[in-house]
């Protein structure tokens, strides 16, 4: 490609030089005609007829020589221009086919990767390379895929936390409900001690308790159908489930230990965002203990 480009430049230089030579030729021809006219004037006036005739003949020969010289240069230049034109076109063709070839593979890979990504394969990445444009495109694609993957992970985690929360809530609500229903049933067993109004009241309590149980079962079914029943945390109450969800949303962890009569210990670990570069290097702690 470089050789073809040089040939093209050479042709362009040749054309410029030719234009200069053409001008020189025209100037020289004009000068020759002026000399000849002056010689013919002298001849007409009859001054030095022999010398004048000789001068006219000499100018005719000079112009003859100039013409044949410029004709030869015209042919050479035309040849050079043709060669330059062909070289330029060939070089351009080579350059473009090379460009297209070097863009084609990365672009094809990008198309395939996009299809895989769209099909849900969030691990998909492309090799970054080639021309700076395709490399930029490639790294932009990889960043996009990584971001998609990150968000999908977050969404899955939120789903899990939601299901866990529903399970815990459903579990924790069941114990007080058991008491309410159980004691209402006790009253029903001793109906003969109740007034008709009190009996009716207890029946209302029982009806509503059963309704509440159905609602809880539905809620549980919903969570199960979403989750494939994640494992249950259990036993620690809603407060801890909520705290756990919040801490995990921040990317942290929570642990609890409890001793009867002694109290409970809760350990919350939260990641800290990397601080702007501190004066002392190497102090990039990303975890804090609260």
């Amino acid at each position: 490609v470089i050789a073809f480009a040089m040939l093209t430049v050479l042709a362009a230089v040749g054309v410029v030089r030719f234009l200069q030579q053409r001008k020189d030729f025209e100037d020289a021809t004009s000068r020759s005609y002026r000399v000849e006219i002056a010689a013919r004037d002298r001849l007409a006036r009859g001054e030095g007829a022999a010398a004048a005739r000789e001068a006219v003949a000499a100018e005719e020969r000079r112009r003859q020589a100039l013409r044949s010289d410029i004709d030869r240069r015209t042919r050479d230049t035309a040849l050079l221009v043709s060669a330059g034109l062909i070289a330029g076109l060939t070089g351009a063709a080579l350059l473009f086919s090379g460009l297209i070839a070097s863009m084609r593979r990365p672009l094809e890979e990008l198309v395939e990767a996009s299809e895989r990504l769209a099909a849900g394969d969030l691990d998909t990445r492309v090799k970054v390379g080639g021309l700076s444009e395709t490399a930029t495109l490639g790294s932009a694609f990889n960043e996009m895929a990584a971001e998609l993957q990150r968000r999908a992970g977050e969404r899955d985690q939120l789903e899990r936390m939601k299901d866990e929360f529903v399970l815990t809530a459903s579990h924790e609500l069941r114990s007080p409900l058991t008491s309410v229903q159980g004691f209402a049933e006790l009253l029903v067993l001793e109906r003969e001690k109740l007034s008709p109004e009190q009996s009716e009241t207890v029946e209302v309590i029982l009806d509503n308790t059963r309704h509440l149980v159905r609602l809880l079962n539905d809620l549980l079914d919903l969570a199960r159908s979403d989750a494939g029943l994640t494992q249950h945390v259990g036993g620690t109450g809603l407060g801890l489930a909520i705290s756990k969800s919040l801490v995990e949303l921040h990317g942290g962890t929570i642990e609890a230990s409890s001793r009867p009569g002694r109290g409970s210990t809760f350990r919350v670990r939260l990641p800290l965002a990397a601080a702007p570069p501190p004066a002392a290097a190497g102090t990039t702690g990303t975890e804090a203990r609260l």
Partner: protein, 124 residues
């Protein structure tokens, strides 16, 4: 001689409810507030003082009903046992056949079914 039932639950209210209903039905009742107490009470038997049936809540502090039962089975105690749980599938992990669980009692408790099951387990 009435059937003796050990009930273990960390909720005093549930213990009161269970005791009242079981005693009304003619059972003798022993209570435990968690798995550790349940293991002690269940092992106290052997000389005829021990419970005939165990009714253990699945989720309790210190020691769960499942862990208590596992410990009792390992110690050779083969008293029939029922597990009370909010929902059975929360227990599925960690259950093995050698625990020899006599049944699950879901919350809220259906007492008629509970009495019938206890009668079956004690051959009454």
């Amino acid at each position: 001689v009435s059937t003796r039932v050990l009930i273990a639950d960390d909720s005093e209210t549930i213990l009161l409810l269970l005791r009242t209903r079981l005693e009304m039905e003619g059972f003798e009742v022993v209570t435990a507030a968690d798995g550790v107490e349940a293991v002690e009470a269940a092992r106290g038997g052997g000389d005829g003082d021990g419970p005939d049936v165990l009714l253990l809540d699945a989720m309790m502090p210190r020691k769960s009903g499942i862990d208590a039962l596992r410990e009792l089975r390992a110690a050779g105690v083969d008293t029939p046992a029922l597990i009370v749980s909010a929902h059975q599938d929360e227990l599925d992990a960690g259950l093995s056949p050698d625990l020899d669980i006599g049944g699950f009692v879901p919350k809220p408790i259906d007492f008629e079914r509970l009495f019938a099951r206890i009668a079956e387990l004690t051959g009454g």
